[in-house]
């Protein structure tokens, strides 16, 4: 699409209109309620064709003095009026709440789940939601129900990805008019850095501390079994032992940690031409270390994570890497989507 001045102007005007049409400062606190002030209605292209057809039928009815032709055209005009109300009603008073948004790695799609709540006693049919320049998704929200709508957005860079302003629209029931509204839910997705494709082996070098852990629990030599606890890594479950019992709790293998290894992932010693390359490499190492089940620690200029293991630790490390150098600034998504 060539960025002609006209197109740019149009885009800017549209952006201004949307900001005005939102009628609230963005991002909006939940729940977002689509009040009648912010739901707009205009005819669609089929609606305009319907209008032209009505005028033609009217002229025919007048010209040939067809009383029933008048009746037909007036009935259809009434239908046109009624459908405006129905379409408007299909959208107005919809409640929107931000739902879950799992972190993703840069390069994959972020999924924003919005919870659409219909307080009314009738189903809302064929609501369409879309992000700027993206394809819409179409969903129904049953009477007095909450339906999750998931919008996806491609990610390019690590950091916070805020959900851009969304458009909600509907042309139900007759497709002759379109009711639409804008909403800017306060929702953001954490985008982890993209792991480097090729990485040197884990940095076991000088900095790497090896030693016995105080509690004597490690990952090397099996010593005993105990009851499973939710925080235990799944790969330590003693499946064979569990299978032998008729009925009983999950068991976790205990290891003697005398030789359990630790690795420090350190920003200072990580090779790389620039920040992003280093971050990318650290991400790869972090994932590799997590996958092998060893203890790892992360040392960034401002943040240090003590060596540990498990999904929570992994999430903290990835988060630190994702937000490294970003402070609290949000990544703005405009122009990022395809």
């Amino acid at each position: 699409m060539p960025a002609t001045p006209f197109r740019q102007l149009r885009r800017r005007l549209h952006e201004r209109f949307v900001r005005w049409a939102l009628r609230v400062p963005t991002p909006e606190p939940a729940p977002i309620i689509l009040t009648q002030r912010r739901v707009y209605v205009l005819p669609t292209r089929p609606g305009l064709a319907f209008g032209v057809a009505l005028i033609t039928i009217f002229l025919g009815a007048v010209n040939y003095n067809l009383s029933l032709g008048h009746a037909l055209v007036f009935l259809l005009a009434g239908l046109g009026i009624v459908t405006i109300l129905h379409t408007f009603r299909n959208l107005v008073q919809l409640h929107i709440r931000p739902g879950r948004c799992e972190p993703v790695f840069a390069g994959s799609h972020a999924s924003f789940t919005l919870l659409l709540e219909n307080p009314r006693n009738d189903t809302r049919t064929s609501l369409r939601l879309y992000l700027p320049d993206a394809a819409p998704i179409e969903i129904d929200v049953a009477a007095q129900a909450v339906t999750a709508a998931t919008l996806t957005l491609p990610t390019l860079r690590r950091g916070w990805l805020a959900l851009p302003r969304i458009t909600l629209e509907t042309t139900w029931p007759l497709g002759l008019v379109r009711a639409w509204s804008y909403a800017a839910p306060d929702m953001r997705c954490l985008v982890y850095p993209q792991p480097a494709a090729k990485a040197p082996p884990l940095p076991w070098g000088g900095d790497t501390a090896q030693g016995s852990r105080r509690d004597g629990q490690g990952a090397d030599d099996f010593s005993s079994l105990r009851h499973h606890q939710p925080a235990d890594p799944p790969r330590h479950i003693a499946w064979k032992a569990v299978a032998r019992q008729e009925q009983g709790p999950l068991l976790t293998k205990q290891f003697n940690g005398s030789t359990a290894q630790e690795v420090w992932l350190d920003w200072q010693t990580t090779p790389g031409a620039d920040t992003e390359e280093r971050i990318s490499l650290l991400t790869r190492w972090l994932l590799d270390a997590d996958a092998t089940g060893i203890y790892w620690g992360l040392r960034l200029p401002q943040i240090t994570l003590a060596p540990a293991q498990g999904s929570a630790h992994r999430a903290a490390g990835l988060r630190a890497l994702a937000l490294f150098g970003h402070g609290a600034t949000h990544q703005v998504a405009h122009g990022v989507a395809h």
């Binding site: 009746a71 037909l72 369409r128």
Partner: protein
């Protein structure tokens, strides 16, 4: 706007097919056979295509079919414009459009074509059955449009939704129908379409032509009198006047001059009425003798026929005033009188001879000649019959002296010829005589079998005088009806004869409904609109009408908006009961805090009111089960309600 372009689904195409069938089926009666068959085949193809899941035909094939169809229409009608060819083309487009349903856009185009064809149906007929049929077509077409947007509901649900939408549109339709300022058509010249010949009186009269009409019970016009209905013998509805005779056939005279106001003095008792004329494809209007007013766009000819500017193609309603005793033509133009005396060189010698004896006997006393002539007709014992023998050479002579059997045209022709032979100007007037009052709605209905012919003679000083020779021989024809004037055997063959009372009653009722429909729905024109609004005490100016329309539509819209947008929120009955429970506890000083869950709250309340601990805990358990269990049970709700009702801390 974001569009999701799905292909048209099977269900959607079935809906569109149904809509096309509902709109096209009634039209086939007015289309050439090849077109109906072709469209039917295309629709059948569409049905099979959806049913079997075949591929859509190639575009070039469809274009070829459109070209062939259009060519066929051109060959059939020698034109592609005008109403019938236009509808034929639309029919072709619709049936072929259904064969290229690819995108939602095609579905919308098909629906709009259906709406156009529904309008097209009204060009041919607008009767009540047509209205019902097209009503069904509108419902199905609208349902197809609904389905084009959401095809998941079942047929019944879809129809219910359509019904609801149309029901809500109905008030707007009624308001617009009554109050939208009507415009008198046509806006542009109507293309001349070939019209099938309509039965009725014609420009000429020859023996047998009116007798033929007696076989038809088709309605010619309906009349509503403002006052009481005049006597049957006064109801002479004047139609074409036929002064020119060529031996057998009587013709209209060329129109030489027109009057825009009646040329005779308008004194005497007046009869006011409103006449609704069915389209007859001619220019003349019927009026009770003699018209004192002229309907708009009409003029009075030299022989007092009412003529309109345009051929009567649509039902026409006009108010009229008649003065039965008006004296006309006291100073008649000499050329008119000459014309009214002209007879062919020879023919009907016996009649001429008799008439000349009258003239010799009475000299210049023309009134006496007229009376003698009437006596002569009475003495001849002429028989009024539907089946007179065919006249050979001299129809009047044969009627008066040989067969003595004839229908009204024989009587009128014979009397007029006799008068002319006696030197008195005379002419034949055709029209309708009598009519039948429908007791249901009080309208006088005049049918084709009321067609009649009579004579008019001119006497110096008296002007034109109506003489009905049929009345001389068969007075019952005039006083009551045609069936009573002819023999019982003949009457049995007549449609006018209704032997079964219930059948007659039914016919009256049907006709009253049809008439109401014609008067108030089909005949709702600018004039009627003005009258209605004036009756309601409103000035029927288009500005007032528009303002009134806007206000009423606004009110309707407001009511509809309230109805549609009102929030029908019924809170969970368990929650309602629970709130009552917490209110009772609050009275004892245990207030439910916003951060508390029901269980925590119950524990606190039980601590505070140990004597009710069990009751509080049971109630809370029930409530929690109802609100949070995967499958709440209806019995629990009743239990909860009962418990809370009896809970009185």
């Amino acid at each position: 706007m974001a569009r999701i372009d799905r292909p048209v689904s099977r269900r959607q195409s079935f809906w569109l097919l149904l809509a096309a069938i509902a709109t096209c089926a009634p039209l086939t009666a007015h289309m050439p056979l090849w077109l109906s068959l072709g469209a039917g085949a295309a629709l059948l193809w569409r049905g099979l295509l959806s049913w079997q899941g075949w591929r859509l035909p190639a575009r070039w094939l469809l274009i070829l079919l459109v070209v062939i169809g259009s060519l066929g229409v051109f060959l059939e009608y020698r034109s592609l414009f005008g109403r019938t060819p236009g509808i034929a083309l639309l029919l072709i487009f619709l049936s072929l459009k259904l064969l290229e349903l690819r995108a939602p856009r095609d579905a919308v185009v098909s629906v709009l074509l259906c709406y156009f064809l529904i309008l097209g149906q009204f060009l041919f007929t607008q009767t009540i059955p047509t209205a019902l049929l097209t009503g069904i077509a509108v419902i199905i077409t609208t349902a197809a449009l609904l389905a084009a947007n959401d095809d998941r509901p079942t047929v019944l649900q879809q129809l219910r939704r359509t019904g609801l939408l149309l029901l809500q549109a109905l008030p707007f339709m009624l308001l617009l129908f009554v109050l939208f300022p009507r415009i008198d058509g046509p806006l542009w010249g109507l293309p001349e379409d070939r019209r099938s010949a309509l039965s009725g009186l014609s420009e000429t009269m020859s023996p047998g032509s009116i007798a033929q009409l007696s076989q038809s019970d088709e309605i010619v016009f309906r009349v509503r009198f403002s006052g009481s209905t005049p006597a049957q013998s006064q109801l002479y509805w004047r139609g074409p006047v036929l002064p020119i005779m060529d031996g057998r056939t009587w013709r209209m005279a060329p129109f030489r001059h027109f009057y825009t106001t009646p040329p005779y003095p308008l004194t005497g008792k007046a009869i006011d009425y409103e006449l609704t004329l069915e389209p007859h494809g001619k220019r003349w209007l019927f009026a009770l003798e003699l018209p004192a007013t002229l309907p708009p766009e009409s003029a009075l000819t030299g022989d007092y026929q009412l003529l309109t500017r345009q051929i009567v193609r649509n039902r026409l309603r006009y108010t009229q005033r008649a003065i039965p005793e008006a004296v006309s033509g006291q100073e008649e133009a000499p050329d008119v009188l000459r014309e009214s005396l002209r007879l062919p060189e020879d023919g009907n010698p016996r009649t001429r001879a008799v008439a000349q004896t009258w003239r010799q006997r009475h000299g210049n006393d023309e009134a006496a000649i007229l009376n003698t002539a009437k006596d002569f007709f009475a003495r001849q014992l002429l028989v009024y019959t539907l089946n007179p023998p065919l006249a050979e050479r001299d129809p009047v002579d044969e009627f008066l002296f040989d067969s003595k059997r004839g229908f009204c045209e024989h009587f009128a022709a014979a009397f007029t010829v006799a008068m002319r032979a006696a030197g008195i100007p005379a002419r034949v007037v055709t029209g309708y005589q009598g009519g039948e009052i429908n007791p249901v709605d009080g309208y006088l209905v005049v049918r084709q079998y009321d067609a009649h012919a009579w004579s008019e003679v001119w006497l110096a000083g008296h002007g034109w005088i109506r003489v009905d020779p049929t009345a001389i021989s068969a007075p019952r024809r005039i006083d009551s009806s045609i069936t009573s004037a002819i023999s019982a055997d003949e009457a049995a063959t007549l449609l006018a004869n209704q032997r079964f009372t219930w059948l007659r009653t039914l016919r009256y009722q049907l006709d009253a409904v049809t008439n109401g429909w014609n008067q108030w729905v089909l005949g709702y024109n600018p004039q009627r609109q003005r009258d209605l609004l004036n009756q309601l005490g409103l000035n029927a100016d288009w500005r007032n009408m528009t303002a009134l329309l806007a206000v009423l539509c606004g009110i309707a819209l407001l009511l509809l908006t309230v109805w549609i947008l009102r929030q029908r929120q019924r809170p969970d009955p368990a929650l309602v009961a629970w709130r009552r429970f917490t209110k009772r506890l609050a009275r004892r000083g245990v207030t439910w805090q916003a951060w508390e869950g029901p269980v925590e709250f119950a524990a606190r309340a039980a601590q505070h009111l140990p004597e009710h601990a069990k009751s509080i805990n049971d109630t809370t358990q029930l409530y929690v089960r109802l609100r949070y269990a995967a499958h709440p049970q209806a019995a629990d709700l009743a239990l909860l309600k009962a418990k809370i009702a009896h809970f009185n801390p």
